[in-house]
């Protein structure tokens, strides 16, 4: 973990409200694991923003970001050549378990799984979204061993339905599931995994202040009591998380 500065190599829109930041930051790129995140400065804002590292090579990292509030809107406009303070890599990433990996990414949640997919090399990766226009996964160059599938709520591409419905139809013995997405999706998946006796891990997102585990701003309830998303997570065993 290191505090340093990242040079913005590129900033590309992927969909109407999703964009991709490519950052030169070798100190962080070298050691990052799938599911870990960085805490990134947003010029003019009091707090940093946590983003999972969506991809990495030896020199650079890629972040896939959804424009949600004023901070991410400011980042969407950041220009190539800018330099941003950055802390990372942070948190616990995925630790693959026995079984054929099935990655389920709902919307921007898929960004938490792409580096895992690269590091696994061989896996099935299904991205879900409301419609085909919101599916951006193809814009990242994933290894050939990653079989990509789609689930859209309007049926415009791939499986017709959301990822919980997809999982209900496709969770078979022998799978290990890694997932990230909106809370109702993860909560639905948790129930399915329990029913079918499958192991899985979820990456959670939270508002954060320190990003390091010091301020207790990002805690979520788990079976072991409160857990800090930034330090004890962001990746948790699927059955550990307590959804409201």
């Amino acid at each position: 973990m290191i505090e340093t500065r990242a040079l913005v190599l590129d900033n590309l829109p992927l969909t109407e409200d999703i964009f991709k930041l490519h950052l030169l930051v070798p100190e962080i790129a070298a050691g990052v694991r799938g599911g870990q995140f960085v805490h990134l400065e947003v010029p003019g804002f009091s707090l940093r923003r946590p983003f999972t590292v969506a991809d990495a090579d030896e020199q650079s990292i890629t972040l896939v970001i959804r424009r949600l509030g004023a901070g991410t809107a400011a980042l969407a406009g950041i220009e190539r050549g800018s330099s941003l303070a950055i802390l990372g890599p942070l948190g616990r990433g995925f630790t693959p378990e026995k079984g054929r990996p099935l990655l389920l990414g709902g919307g921007i949640g898929a960004a938490a799984l792409t580096l895992l997919a690269r590091q696994l090399g061989e896996c099935t990766f299904v991205m879900g979204g409301p419609n085909a226009r919101e599916l951006w996964l193809e814009t990242l160059a994933l290894p050939p061993g990653v079989g990509v599938g789609w689930a859209t709520e309007d049926g415009s591409r791939g499986f017709a339905g959301n990822l919980v419905q997809y999982a209900a139809a496709n969770l078979v013995p022998g799978l290990w599931v890694a997932a990230c997405g909106p809370e109702p999706m993860l909560s639905g998946l948790q129930a399915l995994l329990r029913e079918r006796g499958l192991a899985g891990q979820f990456a959670l997102e939270a508002r954060m202040a320190c990003g390091l585990g010091a301020c207790n701003g990002c805690v979520v309830p788990t079976r072991q009591g409160n857990a800090r998303v930034c330090r004890d997570g962001p990746v948790f065993a699927a059955q550990e998380v307590v959804f409201p």
């Binding site: 505090e3 009091s46 707090l47 202040a209 010091a214 207790n216």
Partner: protein, 305 residues
């Protein structure tokens, strides 16, 4: 000569900088980024007699020039602090102020008594948390309660007591005087200002606790004013806190009368802000051929205190 030395009366720190309670945990996480003995002191997360789960989320909201937090004193309790956290921090070679909180004066006394024979710089009594229903702020706004609580803790604990007061009142002077009269050796001014954020999409308060404590650059003028006012009223040293993020901010607080300085949410924007302030102030003092002691309260000079 150490130009940056900060005089708290009961102790001399190598520089005036310490983290504000709650923003720094027990320092473990930040010790991965810099050596804690760089700092004048470390102020710990609040310790209550029993473990507390804190408030439901969300606990954080960004605001213009600051943030709201509503953590709610989540901590592992006195036993956890004595077993897991304090021994670790005592090995870091930095003076320690343990922040103490409770629901009743007896709860403060219980924690203070259990810490009485520990090797500590002192205790910081948190009479000002805006995010818990009982205790905290309720004590800090009533001078009689401040007096009673600080006296009670003083009976069971010989360690120097620093009293952290709330800015959520009309006049800081009365509780400040009450703390001094009860034997406080220093004051910390200020804790966060109570505030609210609304999520307009959900049409509900954003924070799980409804209200939160405002910190950051937004509260600096309020903090400076209260330090200024208290400096004119009390004779014990004041630890200034509220929106300090750069050397210029630090100078302003020293000039207004703060003898030492706490840095809170600025560390979220820049995790290295504390060691950078230590270095930055040291350089400034050399360039300007002065010392921290010369600066403290300098802005009052020529005015009758």
């Amino acid at each position: 000569m150490n130009r940056a030395a900060a005089d708290l009366g009961f102790a001399r720190l190598k520089n005036p900088f310490m983290p504000a309670s709650g923003c720094f945990g027990w320092g473990r996480e930040y010790s991965r980024l810099f050596a804690l003995d760089t700092l004048g002191a470390v102020v710990t997360k609040a310790v209550t007699p029993e473990p507390r789960r804190g408030n439901p989320g969300p606990r954080l909201a960004e605001t213009p020039a600051g943030m709201l937090n509503a953590i709610g004193l989540e901590n592992s309790g006195l036993e956890g602090a004595l077993r897991d956290d304090l021994p670790w921090l005592q090995g870091q070679g930095v003076p320690i102020l343990v922040n103490v909180a409770g629901r009743t004066p007896e709860e403060y006394a219980r924690v203070a008594e259990a810490l009485a024979d520990q090797d500590l710089l002192g205790l910081e009594l948190n009479l000002s948390c805006p995010n818990v229903r009982e205790g905290g702020i309720a004590f800090g706004v009533d001078p009689d309660l401040v007096y009673a609580l600080v006296s009670r803790v003083g009976e069971v604990c010989p360690l120097p007591l620093v009293v952290k007061l709330t800015p959520n009142l009309a006049d800081i002077v009365e509780p400040a005087l009450a703390a001094q009269a009860a034997g406080a050796r220093a004051l910390t001014l200020i804790n966060t200002l109570r505030g609210l954020a609304i999520d307009s999409k959900k049409r509900r308060p954003l924070l799980g606790n409804i209200s939160g404590g405002l910190s950051g650059p937004a509260i600096k003028p309020v903090a400076l004013y209260q330090v200024w006012q208290a400096y004119r009223a009390v004779s014990i040293p004041i630890i200034g806190c509220g929106g300090i993020a750069g050397v210029e901010d630090a100078l302003e607080f020293l000039l207004a009368g703060a003898a030492a300085l706490q840095v809170g949410s600025a560390a979220f924007a820049n995790p290295l802000v504390l060691p950078q302030l230590v270095r930055g102030l040291a350089d400034w003092l050399v360039t300007n051929d002065t010392t921290v002691s010369e600066l403290v309260g300098e802005a009052h000079r020529g005015r009758e205190v």
